[in-house]
Subunit: 186 residues, 2 copies
Amino acid sequence: MNEVIQNILTRRSVRSFKEEQISDENLNILLEVAKYAPSGMGRQGWHFTVVQNKDKMEKLISIIKEQMLNSSEERFKKMGGNPDFNPFYNAPTVIITAYDKTAATIEADCAVALENIFLAAHSLHISSCWIHILAYFGNDPKVRSVLTEFGVPEDYVVSGSAVLGYNNNPLPDAAPRKEGIVNIVK
Amino acid sequence: MNEVIQNILTRRSVRSFKEEQISDENLNILLEVAKYAPSGMGRQGWHFTVVQNKDKMEKLISIIKEQMLNSSEERFKKMGGNPDFNPFYNAPTVIITAYDKTAATIEADCAVALENIFLAAHSLHISSCWIHILAYFGNDPKVRSVLTEFGVPEDYVVSGSAVLGYNNNPLPDAAPRKEGIVNIVK
């Protein structure tokens, strides 16, 4: 098994991070691999906003939680009202994707760009988790105004995000993989 | 630069394939890495249908092209009417993803599973291309009935697909990457 395959199979989602920040050098590598993801018709209609400032991160978290608390969905309401809940799991770096809505397939394109980030991060011993909360609340006007302030282009749709940092605990085991999900027509 | 990052940066989309089939051993590795992609809430609501039978592949291609010809979109009509057009670029293997529509985020999950396939394939010197045509025509009743015959679960939504094989020509250079698509908040 080569390193690439080994790296895919051993990547895990991590939800507890140390305070230690990732280096600028590593951040630049992660942004570079994101740009090398495939995209529909080669449109590259994505945008990446990196948040590493603690105060600004807290501002964003607090506005997201306020909107969660106002949600009609019980699970969001519960998380929004929990003082210990942090949608970014206290990770020191968050990368937020957004996409040009005129390009077809681009939500999927943002997802594969994130997967490149997760895989390259793992190869650099940086842990990560895919966070979907902004796909639900990122286009809410109050959250959106903070994101616009952070540089997310105004006419772009906010999509998934990656949290990145060093894990507090050993990497968890993989959840069992679902069986019976492949059919081969020979 | 480690092998994982090198592999991400050197992967290319390929649109011309040799007849030579990939080995079952390699196919199994590609399906295994797909299952190790992250998925929203760990739902793994994906399904993979592999088509390697030439006659069945041709049947699928012919029905897709018939529907393209009936499309109201000029670009699809033109491709559907072109006798040389093959939506799978004559690749000997196609992997079609479909997803359980009750699971949120799952279209993105199928996309990241495909990215794992593309990256692992490249590490095994197998070329690939992400094909979106089934995201447009895969749920059309005529195309769908062929896919159901191939084993795509009836209540699943057809999503993107991967074509796989050995490239006929040297790997192309990467298209220039878009600039001005990153903002860092320190």
